[in-house]
């Protein structure tokens, strides 16, 4: 046991297991936050100002530090401006772990300013952002070149970074586990008719086909048990190398289904994006090299073609 733990610690300290995908995820978080802010744009006065029909409550978090939440609400434009700057800095990899920490604080405060508009994706993203503080996600897509002193290129740094990366994976497993745990308890899931109800909810009716699919007994039974079995098995099978591609594909299929049929967009994108952490770093790098080589060849060809046509 002691040997196993030591060798596991050793493997976590050798290299960054999430070197490529954590960089992609960093960009995803930034795009997600900016897209959410864009969606909120017209509703800023309503959800953040505290002077609208939304009856705002204190964040309680700021109050712990002696700051009244209304201070933020009164200066919401300035707050959002700083927030957007932090998103930009994080996307470009400037300030690294410090920026990640500040962004997490801002993300948390803005969630507490109007918690009623949040969904499960926002909830999970908060934890991911917390883990991202410790992940070295600055090898790719940054403008500031890294030097060995800057980066966590020592084995302690790798160890912390990898541990935080695995925490994202484990947290996703916890989410699926408890989602399945609650579903088993509900009769409609147990009896295979739950998707009839989810597809019949007016506020989540995303396509004109929802009603006819809800009436189709075969579809309802298969889709209900598909979701249930996937959520039950995900936390175990995702760690099995052979089953992993199938499980990831199934999870993406499930979330894409919810995305299109129930119009729950951001939520599903977060869950789909996290699946990438289960794909080995080397696989990502190989894909990335292939795509970047193709892109280079394409752009070289284009330049050659345009020079020839010019001559």
């Amino acid at each position: 046991m002691k040997k196993k733990i030591n060798s596991w610690i050793g493997s976590l300290s050798e290299s960054n297991h999430f070197e490529f995908y954590s960089s992609v995820f960093r960009i995803f978080i930034c795009v997600y936050i900016l897209a959410s802010l864009y969606n909120y744009w017209d509703y800023f006065p309503i959800i953040f100002s505290g002077k609208s029909f939304y009856s705002a409550e204190p964040t309680y978090l700021l109050e712990i530090f002696g700051i009244n939440s209304s201070v933020i609400r009164d200066h919401i434009n300035l707050y959002i401006f700083v927030y957007v700057i932090l998103v930009g800095l994080f996307a470009l990899g400037i300030g690294r772990h410090y920026t990640a920490f500040l962004l997490f604080v801002f993300f948390e405060i803005s969630q507490r300013l109007c918690y009623v508009v949040l969904n499960g994706g926002d909830n999970l993203l908060k934890f991911c952002l917390m883990y991202m503080i410790f992940i070295d996600s600055y090898k790719y897509f940054t403008i500031v070149k890294t030097n060995s002193r800057d980066r966590l290129d020592n084995n302690k740094g790798y160890f912390i970074s990898n541990l935080a990366g695995y925490l994202i994976c484990i947290h996703l497993c916890i989410v699926y586990f408890f989602s399945a745990f609650h579903k088993i308890h509900a009769d409609v899931w147990y009896n295979g008719i739950a998707t009839y109800y989810t597809l019949s909810l007016e506020r989540f009716k995303g396509t004109p086909f929802n009603d006819s699919l809800a009436r189709n007994g075969v579809f309802v039974t298969l889709s209900t048990y598909f979701v249930l079995l996937l959520e039950i098995s995900y936390p175990y099978l995702i760690w099995n190398k052979k089953a992993r591609p199938f499980i990831i594909f199934s999870a993406i299929l499930m979330h894409a289904g919810i995305f299109f049929f129930m119009m729950i967009y951001g939520f599903q994108l977060v869950f789909i994006a996290i699946q990438g952490f289960f794909i080995p770093n080397q696989t990502w790098i190989n894909y990335y090299n292939k795509i970047s080589n193709k892109f280079l060849l394409f752009s070289k060809g284009k330049i050659k073609y345009s020079i020839n046509s010019f001559l």
Binding site: V116, F181, R203
Partner: protein, 209 residues
Amino acid sequence: MILKKIILSVTLFYLVVTFYFNLPSNYLKIHCSGKFGNYFNFFMFQRWNFFAPPPNFNDRLYYTFKMKSNNKVEVYEVLEPLSKKKFEKVPFNGKEGILDYLLTNSVIGINDELYKKNRFNSFLIATEKQSDSSHKIKKDSEILNTSNFQTLLAYGKLIIENKSSNQQFDSVQITIARIIIPKFLDRYKNKDSIMKGELFYKSGFISLK
């Protein structure tokens, strides 16, 4: 190596605690959580019971505006048109989505409040500590003061401002109802013949001034 083992132990402890506080309310959780549970839920709140179970109804939120002088009444339902608008604007319906979350989650909040209070009230009535009617009055005033109700009330003011600028309504009544989704077995039956509504909450008339 020692530092790494300490970090690993802290991480494992964090995971165990996260797992523990995600469990449904059981004997151990109720008796052993104490204040630590409150702190954990405050900083690390998470709820993963997505659609378990899914609601078997669609919400309806009615605003009844009343004019004192001539007893004129106007009624608006807001959630059904909002769902339709959300559907029409797919996939660029983020803004309608936010309004939907604000209103529906306020309705759900009132629903939860009533559920908690009803459970507590039936306990008190059962133990003969208070009468049924005194509880009803207390319950209503408690609901009116919640931020969820205040949000719905303020939205009602917004509706009337936008819809009848030249008519002066004095008061509004908020009604929350549910349209029950037909059972799976009845899915092919004519919707109108089996549709069932359920009144969930009705406030008194509240002044708009």
